[in-house]
């Protein structure tokens, strides 16, 4: 069916937005070849989109809004202070010698406690500065040192969190119930995420938790919250990954699903 210019109008809008089906694209392409008026309309559509992008790019959330959200106790607890703040400050990344020279220590988890609970409590200790973590070095160096600490039997799960301005700033090899656990601490924007990686299986799935199934990854994510701290637990092959943070659960889940 031959297309008229009136019908082409909507298709031109959708064409500029890359929202057409293949069939529709072919239809409008054929019409544009024959109709100079609609070709001009398409150019105008692209020009307008470009102008709207200018408005979009010029609009940024003000810094005071970030501050307000970070201090909203419904969303975040107060930012870490004191020892934890000093240990995890990104500025200390510039001190790789700390990581290179200090022996790697294992930390025992309290006997008998479920892993999810240990993960939450360990995260709290790290944030409060009650548990030593080796800071310094690039994320790659932190990963290499952690892998080395377990004889390269496995490597810590890593995340590119640059989009939310977070980066790996520290690492710690731990031991819970005789099992070796690698903890990577990410920090940025006043938030902290602890990522635990260890070999495991179904028996490690925390009981009484919410489960989300990701159809794209064909993976289950187990969600657990305690005292305002959120935890997302999932398996990647033979490895278990646990993310713990005071970030909102949807945000933490989104990060876990990007692993």
């Amino acid at each position: 069916m031959e297309m008229n210019c009136q019908r082409a109008e909507e298709l031109i809008t959708a064409l500029a937005d890359h929202e057409l089906s293949e069939l529709e694209r072919e239809d409008i392409a054929a019409h544009l070849r024959d109709c100079s008026g609609c070709r001009l309309r398409y150019q105008q559509e692209l020009a307008l989109k470009s102008e709207l992008r200018t408005v979009r790019d010029a609009t940024r959330a003000p810094a005071r809004l970030r501050e307000k959200i970070l201090h909203d106790r419904r969303i975040f607890s107060p930012a870490p202070t004191g020892l934890a703040h000093r240990f995890l400050r990104p500025a200390l990344i510039a001190a790789p010698l700390v990581l290179l020279l200090l022996p790697l220590l294992y930390f025992m988890g309290p006997a008998g406690q479920p892993i999810a609970l240990i993960a939450v409590r360990t995260h709290e200790k790290i944030v409060k500065g009650e548990l030593f973590v080796a800071s310094g070095g690039s994320p790659q160096e932190i990963k290499a040192r952690l892998s080395e600490s377990v004889g390269d039997a496995f490597a810590p799960m890593t995340y590119d969190l640059s989009a939310i301005k977070m980066t790996a700033v520290a690492g710690a090899p731990l031991e819970w119930h005789g099992r070796k656990i690698l903890a990577t601490i990410y920090q940025g924007g006043g938030a902290t995420i602890t990522c635990y990686t260890f070999p495991g299986g179904d028996r490690d799935v925390p009981p009484k938790v919410d489960v989300f199934y990701d159809p794209d990854k064909k993976a289950e994510f187990y969600l657990y919250s305690r005292d305002g701290i959120n935890l997302v637990f999932h398996r990647e092959g033979k490895l278990i990954c646990i993310l713990v943070s005071r970030l909102p659960m949807p945000e933490l889940l989104g990060i876990a699903r990007k692993s």
Partner: protein, 171 residues
């Protein structure tokens, strides 16, 4: 903080004033945290947050039948956006002026058209995501966007159509 800028962009063009926009975004994060169990795996987090924000806006401003005057929208809706553009070189000033006029043109659109432009063009959401948020078919989003952009082109002909001949063709 995931999607903060995108949510703020949407709020700044839905609400009427920087303070209102900030409040909308802050409340959106609080509501998302309280209802994270409703998040459906396989869907985009940004779209889910945008829906919460839109519903919040709807609850506050539409159901209360609060009148948003054109003057309010022009005075406040885009003010925060402009503050993000640093004053200084002529180029920045021209860009700010251009951005102001485009923002004002968006604010003048009828609500249903404005919503489509705000979600798709400023919030960077897909047609399907915008349709989900607006509770309408994807085809409706497409036709509203098409109509909205026609109106914007008419208002912004000085910017969108630089060539005199093109202006005549269009008009």
């Amino acid at each position: 903080m995931a999607h903060l800028d995108d949510l703020y962009r949407i709020a700044a063009h839905l609400g009427h004033g920087p303070g209102e926009a900030e409040d909308l975004v802050q409340e959106t994060y609080a509501r998302a945290l309280a209802s994270y169990r409703q998040f459906e795996p396989g869907t985009r987090l940004k779209a889910w947050l945008a829906k919460i924000l839109h519903n919040l806006f709807y609850d506050r401003y539409r159901r209360a039948k609060r009148v948003i005057s054109l003057d309010d929208r022009e005075a406040g809706g885009c003010g925060e956006k402009l503050s993000a553009v640093a004053p200084g070189p002529l180029e920045n000033l021209l860009r700010a002026e251009r951005s102001e006029k485009i923002g004002a043109a968006v604010a003048r659109l009828p609500d249903e058209f404005r919503m489509a432009v705000v979600l798709v063009d400023l919030g960077d959401l897909s047609y399907a995501e915008a349709a989900e948020i607006l509770s309408c078919p994807v085809g409706t989003v497409r036709s509203r966007l098409s109509r909205a952009r026609q109106l914007l082109r008419q208002q912004l002909s000085d910017y969108v159509l630089d060539d005199e001949n093109e202006k005549k063709t269009w008009k």
